[in-house]
Protein backbone atom coordinates (compact mmCIF):
# COMPACT_ATOMS: atom_id res chain seq x y z
CA UNK A 1 0.00 0.00 0.00
CA UNK A 2 1.55 3.30 -1.08
CA UNK A 3 0.02 5.22 1.83
CA UNK A 4 1.50 3.05 4.57
CA UNK A 5 4.90 3.20 2.83
CA UNK A 6 4.67 6.98 2.78
CA UNK A 7 3.77 7.06 6.47
CA UNK A 8 6.70 4.76 7.23
CA UNK A 9 9.06 7.11 5.40
CA UNK A 10 7.62 10.13 7.22
CA UNK A 11 8.00 8.45 10.63
CA UNK A 12 11.62 7.52 9.87
CA UNK A 13 12.41 11.03 8.63
CA UNK A 14 10.90 12.47 11.82
CA UNK A 15 12.89 10.00 13.96
CA UNK A 16 16.07 10.93 12.11
CA UNK A 17 15.51 14.66 12.67
CA UNK A 18 14.82 14.03 16.33
CA UNK A 19 17.56 11.53 17.14
CA UNK A 20 20.16 11.53 14.37
CA UNK A 21 19.63 7.74 14.52
CA UNK A 22 23.18 6.47 14.12
CA UNK A 23 23.61 2.75 13.51
CA UNK A 24 26.79 1.05 14.75
CA UNK A 25 27.31 -2.44 13.41
CA UNK A 26 29.85 -3.64 15.97
CA UNK A 27 29.34 -7.40 15.96
CA UNK A 28 27.71 -8.12 12.62
CA UNK A 29 26.84 -6.45 9.32
CA UNK A 30 23.43 -5.53 7.92
CA UNK A 31 23.02 -8.68 5.83
CA UNK A 32 20.05 -10.57 4.43
CA UNK A 33 20.33 -13.23 7.13
CA UNK A 34 17.31 -14.32 9.11
CA UNK A 35 17.68 -12.81 12.56
CA UNK A 36 15.95 -12.04 15.82
CA UNK A 37 17.09 -8.58 16.95
CA UNK A 38 16.61 -8.25 20.71
CA UNK A 39 16.93 -4.86 22.38
CA UNK A 40 16.52 -2.88 25.58
CA UNK A 41 13.12 -1.26 25.83
CA UNK A 42 12.55 2.23 27.23
CA UNK A 43 10.26 3.93 24.74
CA UNK A 44 7.48 3.23 22.26
CA UNK A 45 9.84 4.51 19.58
CA UNK A 46 12.45 1.78 20.15
CA UNK A 47 11.46 -0.44 17.26
CA UNK A 48 11.25 2.56 14.90
CA UNK A 49 14.93 3.25 15.55
CA UNK A 50 16.02 -0.35 14.96
CA UNK A 51 13.77 -0.67 11.92
CA UNK A 52 15.01 2.65 10.49
CA UNK A 53 18.65 1.62 10.97
CA UNK A 54 18.19 -1.42 8.74
CA UNK A 55 18.73 -1.08 4.98
CA UNK A 56 15.34 -0.58 3.23
CA UNK A 57 15.32 -4.05 1.64
CA UNK A 58 15.75 -5.68 5.06
CA UNK A 59 13.00 -3.58 6.66
CA UNK A 60 10.36 -5.35 4.62
CA UNK A 61 11.50 -8.70 6.00
CA UNK A 62 11.79 -7.56 9.62
CA UNK A 63 8.76 -7.41 11.93
CA UNK A 64 8.68 -5.82 15.37
CA UNK A 65 7.01 -7.94 18.04
CA UNK A 66 4.71 -5.70 20.06
CA UNK A 67 1.96 -5.87 22.67
CA UNK A 68 -1.50 -6.27 21.18
CA UNK A 69 -3.04 -4.44 24.16
CA UNK A 70 -1.19 -1.23 23.20
CA UNK A 71 -1.26 -1.39 19.41
CA UNK A 72 -4.91 -2.44 19.09
CA UNK A 73 -6.25 0.32 21.30
CA UNK A 74 -7.20 2.79 18.54
CA UNK A 75 -7.60 2.87 14.78
CA UNK A 76 -4.48 5.02 14.33
CA UNK A 77 -2.33 2.67 16.44
CA UNK A 78 -3.74 -0.32 14.57
CA UNK A 79 -2.84 1.31 11.25
CA UNK A 80 0.70 2.18 12.39
CA UNK A 81 1.29 -1.18 14.06
CA UNK A 82 -0.15 -3.48 11.43
CA UNK A 83 0.01 -1.64 8.11
CA UNK A 84 3.03 0.62 8.48
CA UNK A 85 5.41 -1.56 10.46
CA UNK A 86 3.82 -4.96 9.85
CA UNK A 87 4.14 -5.65 13.58
CA UNK A 88 3.57 -9.10 15.00
CA UNK A 89 1.07 -8.38 17.77
CA UNK A 90 1.18 -10.69 20.75
CA UNK A 91 -0.99 -11.09 23.81
CA UNK A 92 1.04 -9.99 26.82
CA UNK A 93 -1.65 -10.75 29.38
CA UNK A 94 -0.51 -14.37 29.67
CA UNK A 95 -4.01 -15.55 28.68
CA UNK A 96 -2.84 -17.41 25.59
CA UNK A 97 -2.07 -20.97 26.61
CA UNK A 98 1.02 -22.74 25.40
CA UNK A 99 0.65 -24.14 21.90
CA UNK A 100 -2.67 -22.37 21.38
CA UNK A 101 -3.46 -19.90 18.61
CA UNK A 102 -2.57 -16.90 20.79
CA UNK A 103 0.57 -18.33 22.39
CA UNK A 104 3.24 -15.64 21.76
CA UNK A 105 6.05 -18.13 21.14
CA UNK A 106 3.91 -20.06 18.65
CA UNK A 107 3.11 -16.82 16.80
CA UNK A 108 6.78 -15.81 16.67
CA UNK A 109 7.79 -19.28 15.57
CA UNK A 110 5.24 -19.22 12.75
CA UNK A 111 6.59 -15.86 11.58
CA UNK A 112 10.17 -17.14 11.64
CA UNK A 113 9.17 -20.26 9.67
CA UNK A 114 7.66 -17.94 7.04
CA UNK A 115 11.10 -16.38 6.69
CA UNK A 116 10.58 -13.17 8.67
CA UNK A 117 13.19 -11.59 10.92
CA UNK A 118 11.90 -10.23 14.23
CA UNK A 119 12.57 -7.33 16.58
CA UNK A 120 12.03 -8.44 20.17
CA UNK A 121 12.13 -6.73 23.56
CA UNK A 122 12.89 -9.51 26.06
CA UNK A 123 12.19 -7.28 29.06
CA UNK A 124 8.55 -7.49 28.00
CA UNK A 125 7.68 -3.95 29.03
CA UNK A 126 9.22 -0.49 28.99
CA UNK A 127 11.97 0.02 31.54
CA UNK A 128 11.30 3.22 33.48
CA UNK A 129 13.55 2.33 36.42
CA UNK A 130 17.16 3.37 37.01
CA UNK A 131 18.30 -0.22 36.39
CA UNK A 132 19.92 -0.77 33.01
CA UNK A 133 17.74 -3.77 32.17
CA UNK A 134 14.71 -5.44 33.69
CA UNK A 135 14.80 -9.25 34.10
CA UNK A 136 14.30 -11.01 30.77
CA UNK A 137 11.10 -12.97 30.03
CA UNK A 138 11.74 -16.52 28.95
CA UNK A 139 10.08 -16.14 25.52
CA UNK A 140 13.39 -15.52 23.78
CA UNK A 141 14.71 -18.85 25.06
CA UNK A 142 11.64 -20.79 23.91
CA UNK A 143 11.89 -19.10 20.54
CA UNK A 144 15.59 -20.01 20.27
CA UNK A 145 14.74 -23.64 21.05
CA UNK A 146 12.31 -23.95 18.15
CA UNK A 147 14.29 -21.78 15.69
CA UNK A 148 17.79 -23.17 16.17
CA UNK A 149 19.48 -21.76 13.07
CA UNK A 150 18.35 -18.16 13.49
CA UNK A 151 20.90 -15.56 14.67
CA UNK A 152 19.96 -13.71 17.87
CA UNK A 153 21.48 -10.24 17.59
CA UNK A 154 21.69 -8.00 20.68
CA UNK A 155 20.86 -4.33 19.97
CA UNK A 156 21.48 -1.53 22.46
CA UNK A 157 19.43 1.64 21.95
CA UNK A 158 21.05 4.54 23.74
CA UNK A 159 19.47 7.82 24.86
CA UNK A 160 15.95 7.37 23.50
CA UNK A 161 14.58 7.34 27.05
CA UNK A 162 15.69 10.98 27.37
CA UNK A 163 13.96 12.01 24.13
CA UNK A 164 10.52 11.43 25.57
CA UNK A 165 10.32 10.35 29.22
CA UNK A 166 7.17 8.56 30.32
CA UNK A 167 4.32 10.97 30.94
CA UNK A 168 5.62 13.77 28.68
CA UNK A 169 3.93 14.70 25.42
CA UNK A 170 6.55 16.74 23.56
CA UNK A 171 9.72 14.90 22.49
CA UNK A 172 13.07 16.71 22.52
CA UNK A 173 15.79 16.27 19.91
CA UNK A 174 18.77 14.33 21.27
CA UNK A 175 21.26 12.12 19.45
CA UNK A 176 20.61 8.39 19.81
CA UNK A 177 22.77 5.46 18.79
CA UNK A 178 21.71 1.94 17.90
CA UNK A 179 24.50 -0.59 18.43
CA UNK A 180 24.24 -4.06 16.88
CA UNK A 181 26.34 -6.68 18.67
CA UNK A 182 27.68 -10.15 18.01
CA UNK A 183 24.99 -12.72 17.10
CA UNK A 184 24.22 -15.50 19.60
CA UNK A 185 22.77 -18.96 19.05
CA UNK A 186 21.42 -21.43 21.59
CA UNK A 187 23.92 -24.13 22.53
CA UNK A 188 22.89 -27.76 22.12
CA UNK A 189 22.63 -28.48 25.85
CA UNK A 190 22.28 -24.91 27.08
CA UNK A 191 19.83 -24.39 29.96
CA UNK A 192 17.23 -21.64 29.94
CA UNK A 193 18.86 -19.51 32.63
CA UNK A 194 22.28 -19.80 31.01
CA UNK A 195 20.97 -18.65 27.65
CA UNK A 196 19.03 -15.76 29.17
CA UNK A 197 22.13 -14.71 31.15
CA UNK A 198 24.24 -14.86 27.98
CA UNK A 199 21.71 -12.74 26.05
CA UNK A 200 21.62 -10.24 28.86
CA UNK A 201 25.41 -10.02 29.05
CA UNK A 202 25.65 -9.68 25.26
CA UNK A 203 23.25 -6.75 25.39
CA UNK A 204 24.87 -5.03 28.38
CA UNK A 205 28.28 -5.32 26.72
CA UNK A 206 27.02 -2.84 24.10
CA UNK A 207 25.84 -0.24 26.61
CA UNK A 208 28.14 2.75 27.14
CA UNK A 209 29.94 2.93 30.47
CA UNK A 210 28.03 4.65 33.25
CA UNK A 211 29.27 8.00 34.52
Amino acid sequence: MWFSKLVARAIILFARLLTGMQARWNGCLPAAVQRVYFANHSSHGDFVLIWGCLPPDLRRLTRPVAGADYWNRSAVRRFIGRDVFNALLIDRSGGGHEGGATDPVALMKAAVLRGDSLILFPEGTRNTTDARLLPFKSGIYHLARVCGNVEFVPVWIDNLNRVMPKGEVVPVPLLCTVTFGKPLTLGAEEAKDDFLARCRAGLLALAPALE
Partner: protein, 320 residues
Amino acid sequence: MMHSYPAVLRETWLLFAAVFGVLVLASAVTALLRWRVAGGRPHAVIDNLGARVSAWWWMIGVLGVAFVLGRTAIIVLFYLLSFFALREFVTITTTRRGDHRAIVAAFFVFLPLQYVLVYIGWYGLFSILIPVYAFLILPILSALSEETTRFLERCAGVQWAVMVCVFCVSHVPALLTLPIPGFEDRNLLLIAFLVIVVQGSDVLQYVWGKLCGRRKIAPLLSPSKTVEGFVGGVASATALGASLWWITPYGSPWKAGLIALVIALMGFLGGLVMSAIKRDRGIKDWGHMIQGHGGMLDRLDSVVFAAPVFFHITRYWWVP
Protein backbone atom coordinates in the same frame (compact mmCIF):
# COMPACT_ATOMS: atom_id res chain seq x y z
CA MET B 1 13.94 46.71 8.37
CA MET B 2 13.19 43.89 6.01
CA HIS B 3 14.70 44.46 2.63
CA SER B 4 15.40 42.06 -0.14
CA TYR B 5 18.68 41.97 -1.90
CA PRO B 6 18.11 42.96 -5.51
CA ALA B 7 20.99 41.04 -6.98
CA VAL B 8 23.93 38.99 -5.89
CA LEU B 9 26.85 41.32 -5.47
CA ARG B 10 29.85 41.20 -7.76
CA GLU B 11 32.05 40.72 -4.66
CA THR B 12 30.05 37.64 -3.68
CA TRP B 13 30.64 36.04 -7.07
CA LEU B 14 34.35 36.83 -6.86
CA LEU B 15 34.60 35.33 -3.35
CA PHE B 16 32.83 32.17 -4.35
CA ALA B 17 34.98 31.88 -7.47
CA ALA B 18 38.07 32.15 -5.25
CA VAL B 19 36.75 29.62 -2.71
CA PHE B 20 35.84 27.32 -5.60
CA GLY B 21 39.41 27.61 -6.86
CA VAL B 22 40.79 26.72 -3.42
CA LEU B 23 38.51 23.67 -3.23
CA VAL B 24 39.58 22.49 -6.67
CA LEU B 25 43.19 22.87 -5.54
CA ALA B 26 42.47 20.99 -2.29
CA SER B 27 40.78 18.15 -4.17
CA ALA B 28 43.70 17.98 -6.61
CA VAL B 29 46.27 17.89 -3.79
CA THR B 30 44.27 15.16 -2.01
CA ALA B 31 44.12 13.10 -5.19
CA LEU B 32 47.87 13.58 -5.69
CA LEU B 33 48.64 12.52 -2.10
CA ARG B 34 46.40 9.48 -2.52
CA TRP B 35 48.33 8.51 -5.60
CA ARG B 36 51.92 9.37 -4.60
CA VAL B 37 51.95 8.85 -0.80
CA ALA B 38 49.17 6.36 -0.09
CA GLY B 39 49.61 4.51 -3.39
CA GLY B 40 45.85 3.88 -3.56
CA ARG B 41 45.87 1.99 -0.27
CA PRO B 42 43.93 3.10 2.84
CA HIS B 43 45.82 5.82 4.74
CA ALA B 44 44.30 7.28 7.93
CA VAL B 45 45.44 10.90 7.51
CA ILE B 46 44.88 11.13 3.75
CA ASP B 47 41.48 9.41 3.92
CA ASN B 48 40.43 11.84 6.63
CA LEU B 49 41.71 14.72 4.48
CA GLY B 50 39.63 13.42 1.58
CA ALA B 51 36.52 13.23 3.77
CA ARG B 52 37.17 16.75 5.05
CA VAL B 53 37.58 18.17 1.54
CA SER B 54 34.40 16.55 0.23
CA ALA B 55 32.51 17.79 3.31
CA TRP B 56 33.86 21.28 2.50
CA TRP B 57 32.38 21.03 -0.99
CA TRP B 58 28.99 20.35 0.62
CA MET B 59 29.29 23.10 3.21
CA ILE B 60 30.38 25.72 0.67
CA GLY B 61 27.61 24.53 -1.66
CA VAL B 62 24.91 24.94 1.01
CA LEU B 63 26.27 28.33 2.09
CA GLY B 64 26.47 29.42 -1.55
CA VAL B 65 22.83 28.52 -2.21
CA ALA B 66 21.79 30.44 0.92
CA PHE B 67 23.82 33.48 -0.22
CA VAL B 68 22.11 33.47 -3.62
CA LEU B 69 18.64 33.12 -2.04
CA GLY B 70 19.42 35.99 0.32
CA ARG B 71 18.59 37.20 3.81
CA THR B 72 15.74 34.87 4.79
CA ALA B 73 17.59 31.77 3.59
CA ILE B 74 20.67 32.76 5.62
CA ILE B 75 18.57 33.18 8.78
CA VAL B 76 16.85 29.81 8.21
CA LEU B 77 20.21 28.15 7.55
CA PHE B 78 21.72 29.41 10.81
CA TYR B 79 18.54 28.46 12.68
CA LEU B 80 19.10 24.89 11.44
CA LEU B 81 22.81 24.99 12.35
CA SER B 82 21.81 26.13 15.86
CA PHE B 83 19.27 23.32 16.07
CA PHE B 84 21.79 20.63 15.15
CA ALA B 85 24.44 22.14 17.43
CA LEU B 86 22.00 22.32 20.35
CA ARG B 87 20.99 18.71 19.75
CA GLU B 88 24.65 17.68 20.03
CA PHE B 89 25.31 19.82 23.10
CA VAL B 90 22.26 18.76 25.13
CA THR B 91 23.00 15.12 24.26
CA ILE B 92 26.28 15.22 26.21
CA THR B 93 24.91 17.43 29.01
CA THR B 94 23.91 15.82 32.30
CA THR B 95 20.16 16.19 32.53
CA ARG B 96 17.46 14.27 34.32
CA ARG B 97 13.81 13.64 33.69
CA GLY B 98 12.95 16.82 35.59
CA ASP B 99 14.72 18.94 32.97
CA HIS B 100 12.50 17.77 30.15
CA ARG B 101 10.34 20.91 30.07
CA ALA B 102 13.37 23.19 30.23
CA ILE B 103 14.84 21.36 27.23
CA VAL B 104 11.51 21.59 25.39
CA ALA B 105 11.54 25.36 26.04
CA ALA B 106 15.14 25.63 24.84
CA PHE B 107 14.41 23.87 21.54
CA PHE B 108 10.91 25.08 20.79
CA VAL B 109 10.67 28.52 22.43
CA PHE B 110 14.06 30.19 22.89
CA LEU B 111 15.73 28.82 19.74
CA PRO B 112 12.98 29.93 17.28
CA LEU B 113 12.33 33.17 19.17
CA GLN B 114 15.97 34.20 18.96
CA TYR B 115 15.90 33.81 15.18
CA VAL B 116 12.56 35.63 14.90
CA LEU B 117 14.26 38.53 16.70
CA VAL B 118 17.09 38.40 14.17
CA TYR B 119 14.53 38.40 11.37
CA ILE B 120 12.60 41.42 12.64
CA GLY B 121 15.82 43.12 13.75
CA TRP B 122 14.82 43.74 17.39
CA TYR B 123 18.35 44.16 18.75
CA GLY B 124 17.38 45.05 22.33
CA LEU B 125 15.55 41.81 23.04
CA PHE B 126 17.89 39.77 20.84
CA SER B 127 20.83 40.64 23.07
CA ILE B 128 19.15 39.73 26.38
CA LEU B 129 16.67 36.96 25.52
CA ILE B 130 19.05 34.12 26.36
CA PRO B 131 21.52 35.69 28.83
CA VAL B 132 18.61 37.06 30.91
CA TYR B 133 15.26 35.44 30.17
CA ALA B 134 16.37 31.90 29.32
CA PHE B 135 18.76 32.14 32.29
CA LEU B 136 15.80 32.82 34.59
CA ILE B 137 13.07 30.71 33.03
CA LEU B 138 14.91 27.44 32.27
CA PRO B 139 15.92 26.77 35.90
CA ILE B 140 12.38 27.69 37.02
CA LEU B 141 11.03 24.95 34.74
CA SER B 142 13.56 22.47 36.13
CA ALA B 143 12.85 23.47 39.73
CA LEU B 144 9.11 22.92 39.29
CA SER B 145 9.82 19.24 38.66
CA GLU B 146 11.13 19.07 42.25
CA GLU B 147 14.04 16.90 41.18
CA THR B 148 17.08 18.23 43.02
CA THR B 149 19.85 15.74 42.22
CA ARG B 150 22.79 17.67 40.66
CA PHE B 151 20.45 20.61 40.12
CA LEU B 152 23.08 23.33 39.70
CA GLU B 153 25.12 21.24 37.28
CA ARG B 154 22.05 20.44 35.19
CA CYS B 155 20.88 24.06 34.98
CA ALA B 156 24.39 25.28 34.16
CA GLY B 157 24.70 22.69 31.41
CA VAL B 158 21.43 23.63 29.74
CA GLN B 159 22.23 27.35 29.99
CA TRP B 160 25.66 26.75 28.44
CA ALA B 161 24.02 24.79 25.66
CA VAL B 162 21.68 27.62 24.66
CA MET B 163 24.38 30.29 25.09
CA VAL B 164 26.85 28.46 22.86
CA CYS B 165 24.51 26.98 20.27
CA VAL B 166 21.77 29.59 20.02
CA PHE B 167 22.95 32.93 21.39
CA CYS B 168 26.49 32.88 19.99
CA VAL B 169 25.62 31.27 16.65
CA SER B 170 22.74 33.72 16.07
CA HIS B 171 25.28 36.56 15.99
CA VAL B 172 26.31 35.41 12.52
CA PRO B 173 22.94 36.13 10.80
CA ALA B 174 22.47 39.13 13.12
CA LEU B 175 25.27 40.79 11.13
CA LEU B 176 22.59 41.34 8.47
CA THR B 177 20.73 43.71 10.79
CA LEU B 178 23.60 46.19 11.30
CA PRO B 179 22.85 49.52 9.60
CA ILE B 180 26.30 50.60 8.45
CA PRO B 181 26.30 53.90 6.51
CA GLY B 182 27.51 53.43 2.93
CA PHE B 183 27.33 49.63 3.32
CA GLU B 184 23.60 49.16 2.73
CA ASP B 185 22.59 45.90 1.05
CA ARG B 186 26.13 44.57 1.45
CA ASN B 187 25.88 43.02 4.94
CA LEU B 188 26.09 39.50 3.54
CA LEU B 189 29.74 40.29 2.88
CA LEU B 190 30.29 40.61 6.66
CA ILE B 191 29.16 36.99 7.04
CA ALA B 192 31.44 35.99 4.17
CA PHE B 193 34.38 37.80 5.85
CA LEU B 194 33.72 36.15 9.24
CA VAL B 195 33.28 32.66 7.81
CA ILE B 196 36.26 32.88 5.44
CA VAL B 197 38.64 34.24 8.10
CA VAL B 198 37.57 31.95 10.98
CA GLN B 199 37.13 28.75 8.98
CA GLY B 200 40.18 29.69 6.90
CA SER B 201 42.13 30.03 10.14
CA ASP B 202 41.04 26.50 11.18
CA VAL B 203 42.05 25.08 7.80
CA LEU B 204 45.36 26.96 7.74
CA GLN B 205 46.17 25.84 11.30
CA TYR B 206 45.53 22.27 10.15
CA VAL B 207 47.74 22.73 7.06
CA TRP B 208 50.60 24.44 8.95
CA GLY B 209 50.32 21.86 11.73
CA LYS B 210 50.54 18.96 9.30
CA LEU B 211 53.42 20.53 7.35
CA CYS B 212 55.70 21.70 10.17
CA GLY B 213 53.93 21.12 13.50
CA ARG B 214 56.31 19.89 16.22
CA ARG B 215 55.56 21.30 19.67
CA LYS B 216 52.10 20.62 21.07
CA ILE B 217 50.42 23.80 22.30
CA ALA B 218 47.84 22.30 24.69
CA PRO B 219 48.49 18.55 24.78
CA LEU B 220 45.92 17.82 27.47
CA LEU B 221 43.14 19.65 25.66
CA SER B 222 43.78 19.00 22.02
CA PRO B 223 46.60 16.62 21.06
CA SER B 224 46.51 17.68 17.39
CA LYS B 225 47.09 21.42 17.92
CA THR B 226 50.68 22.64 17.64
CA VAL B 227 52.51 25.93 18.24
CA GLU B 228 53.61 26.01 14.60
CA GLY B 229 50.05 25.37 13.40
CA PHE B 230 48.70 28.07 15.70
CA VAL B 231 51.22 30.75 14.73
CA GLY B 232 51.20 29.94 11.02
CA GLY B 233 47.42 29.57 10.88
CA VAL B 234 46.55 32.73 12.77
CA ALA B 235 49.19 34.78 10.91
CA SER B 236 48.02 33.63 7.50
CA ALA B 237 44.34 34.09 8.48
CA THR B 238 45.22 37.66 9.49
CA ALA B 239 46.85 38.21 6.12
CA LEU B 240 43.84 36.66 4.43
CA GLY B 241 41.53 39.03 6.32
CA ALA B 242 43.69 42.04 5.41
CA SER B 243 43.60 41.05 1.74
CA LEU B 244 39.78 41.01 1.92
CA TRP B 245 39.53 44.61 3.20
CA TRP B 246 37.76 45.65 -0.03
CA ILE B 247 34.65 43.60 0.84
CA THR B 248 34.39 45.11 4.35
CA PRO B 249 33.25 48.49 5.67
CA TYR B 250 36.53 48.83 7.63
CA GLY B 251 38.21 51.02 5.04
CA SER B 252 41.82 49.82 5.18
CA PRO B 253 43.80 46.58 5.04
CA TRP B 254 45.37 47.06 8.47
CA LYS B 255 41.99 47.50 10.20
CA ALA B 256 40.54 44.48 8.39
CA GLY B 257 43.71 42.55 9.32
CA LEU B 258 43.48 43.54 12.98
CA ILE B 259 39.85 42.43 13.14
CA ALA B 260 40.81 39.19 11.38
CA LEU B 261 43.55 38.66 14.01
CA VAL B 262 41.04 39.11 16.86
CA ILE B 263 38.48 36.70 15.42
CA ALA B 264 41.11 34.11 14.47
CA LEU B 265 42.41 34.22 18.07
CA MET B 266 38.88 33.96 19.47
CA GLY B 267 38.25 31.04 17.13
CA PHE B 268 41.38 29.26 18.31
CA LEU B 269 40.58 29.83 22.00
CA GLY B 270 36.97 28.80 21.42
CA GLY B 271 38.23 25.54 19.96
CA LEU B 272 40.22 24.96 23.17
CA VAL B 273 37.18 25.64 25.39
CA MET B 274 35.01 23.28 23.37
CA SER B 275 37.79 20.65 23.47
CA ALA B 276 37.88 20.96 27.28
CA ILE B 277 34.15 20.18 27.37
CA LYS B 278 34.66 17.18 25.09
CA ARG B 279 37.55 15.83 27.21
CA ASP B 280 35.48 16.28 30.36
CA ARG B 281 32.63 14.29 28.86
CA GLY B 282 35.00 11.65 27.46
CA ILE B 283 34.08 12.11 23.81
CA LYS B 284 36.28 12.69 20.78
CA ASP B 285 33.74 14.38 18.51
CA TRP B 286 30.47 16.19 19.14
CA GLY B 287 28.59 14.03 16.68
CA HIS B 288 28.83 12.44 13.27
CA MET B 289 26.94 14.81 10.97
CA ILE B 290 29.87 16.03 8.90
CA GLN B 291 32.10 13.33 7.49
CA GLY B 292 35.77 13.72 8.42
CA HIS B 293 35.05 16.61 10.78
CA GLY B 294 32.77 15.00 13.37
CA GLY B 295 29.67 16.85 14.51
CA MET B 296 28.21 20.23 13.70
CA LEU B 297 29.90 21.74 16.76
CA ASP B 298 33.30 20.41 15.71
CA ARG B 299 33.04 22.70 12.70
CA LEU B 300 31.21 25.57 14.40
CA ASP B 301 33.23 25.80 17.64
CA SER B 302 35.54 28.55 16.43
CA VAL B 303 32.69 30.55 14.83
CA VAL B 304 30.76 30.33 18.12
CA PHE B 305 33.43 32.27 19.99
CA ALA B 306 34.35 34.64 17.17
CA ALA B 307 30.87 35.73 16.05
CA PRO B 308 29.72 37.82 19.06
CA VAL B 309 33.08 39.61 19.28
CA PHE B 310 33.08 40.31 15.54
CA PHE B 311 29.48 41.54 15.78
CA HIS B 312 30.25 43.95 18.64
CA ILE B 313 33.47 45.31 17.12
CA THR B 314 31.59 46.08 13.91
CA ARG B 315 28.57 47.49 15.73
CA TYR B 316 30.57 49.64 18.15
CA TRP B 317 32.89 51.28 15.62
CA TRP B 318 30.96 51.25 12.35
CA VAL B 319 27.30 51.72 13.32
CA PRO B 320 26.59 55.31 14.33
